[in-house]
Symmetry: C2
Subunit: 183 residues, 2 copies
C-alpha cells in the first residue's frame, strides 16, 4: 500500500476537522499538525484555508445510486442513520452542513451546494416539492434531536424504536397533501 500523498493527508485531516468542528473553529495549524505536515504546504497546495475546505467538499458530497421509489428512499435513510459508520457519506454530510451553514465564510458555499443536491436528487425522485422539503426537514430535525441534542426520548441508533421514529416522521412528510388543510 502506497503512502498517501501530502495533499491527501491534508485533505483527509481537514475533512475530519472541518466537518466535525466547523470551518471557523479549526485553524490551519491544527490541521497541519493532525496530518503531520508543515503548515505552509496548505497554502502551497490548496491556495489557502478556503481552498482546502473546498477540496473537502469535492470529496463525495453527492448521494450516489439513490433509489427511484419513495419507500426505498425512506428505508435508505433509515438504514444510513441506524448503522452509519463514521465516514464521508450522509449523515456526516448533513451534519457538516448543519455545522457550517451559519458560518460567514463558508455558509453561502455549503448552502448552495446542498440546494443543488436537493433539487437535483432528492426532490426529483420524490416528485413533489412541498413533500420533498418536508422530507429533508424531518431528516435534519431527527439528526439535530439525536446527534447534537441527544434528546431523551429518541431511541438508541440501531434499535427498533429509533428506526420506527425516523420512518414514521419520513413517511408522514411524504404523506403531506398541499391541497388539504391539515393535510
Amino acid at each position: 500500500m502506497d503512502e498517501p500523498s501530502t495533499a491527501d493527508k491534508l485533505r483527509d485531516a481537514a475533512q475530519l476537522a472541518f466537518w466535525d468542528n466547523g470551518y471557523s473553529n479549526v485553524s490551519v495549524r491544527q490541521i497541519a499538525n493532525a496530518a503531520q505536515v508543515d503548515v505552509a504546504l496548505i497554502s502551497r497546495y490548496f491556495g489557502g484555508k478556503m481552498g482546502l475546505f473546498e477540496a473537502t467538499l469535492h470529496k463525495s458530497f453527492d448521494l450516489d445510486n439513490l433509489p427511484e421509489d419513495r419507500d426505498g428512499l425512506v428505508e435508505l435513510f433509515v438504514d444510513i442513520f441506524s448503522y452509519a459508520p463514521r465516514d464521508t457519506s450522509s449523515p456526516s454530510a448533513l451534519r457538516m452542513l448543519l455545522i457550517n451553514a451559519h458560518d460567514d465564510a463558508v455558509g453561502p458555499l455549503v448552502r448552495a451546494r446542498f440546494e443543488d443536491m436537493f433539487t437535483r436528487q432528492v426532490a426529483r425522485v420524490i416528485g413533489n416539492l412541498p413533500q420533498a422539503a418536508l422530507f429533508v426537514a424531518a431528516l435534519f430535525g431527527f439528526m439535530v434531536a439525536e446527534k447534537t441534542l441527544h434528546l431523551p426520548g429518541i431511541g438508541e441508533p440501531g434499535s427498533p424504536l429509533y428506526a420506527n421514529q425516523l420512518r414514521h416522521l419520513l413517511h408522514a412528510a411524504l404523506a403531506f397533501d398541499p391541497d388539504v388543510p391539515n393535510g
Copy 2:
C-alpha cells in the same frame, strides 16, 4: 424614557450578535462597537466574553404560559413560526441553540439549558417522551429547512401552505406510537 444602562446596552447588542452569528464568530470588539461602548467594560461588568454570553441566556430563554393540551401546543408553535417578529422568544431561541450547539466553548452550556427546558416544559405537557422528542425534532427540522436553508418547497411564512406543512409534521410527531412497527 430613561437611557438604558451601559450594561443593558452591552447585553442587548451581545444577544443580537451571539444569537445571530454564534459565540465564536463574534468578537467583543464588534459587540462593544455596536453598543457604542468601550471594549474594556465588557470584562468589567460581565467578567469577560463568556459572562456576557451567559447574561444573554438569562434573558427569557423559557417558554411562558405553555398551553396544557397537545393541540394547543401545535397551534402555538404554528403561530409563533408564522408570525414571529424578530425578538427574543422562540423561534429565535431555537435558532440560537442551533447556531451555538456545536461550539466548543458554549455548546455544552446551551445544550444543557435546552434539555432542561425540554423535559420541564414540552415533554411534560405532551406526556410521552418519544412523541415529545419527535415533536421538537420536527420543530428543528422545519426551522432548518426554512430559516437556514431556504429550501424551495417550503411555503412563505404566514402563508396557508407554510402553516399546513408545519402543522402536518407536528401532528404526525404526536401521533407516533412506539408500540406499533411503522407507528
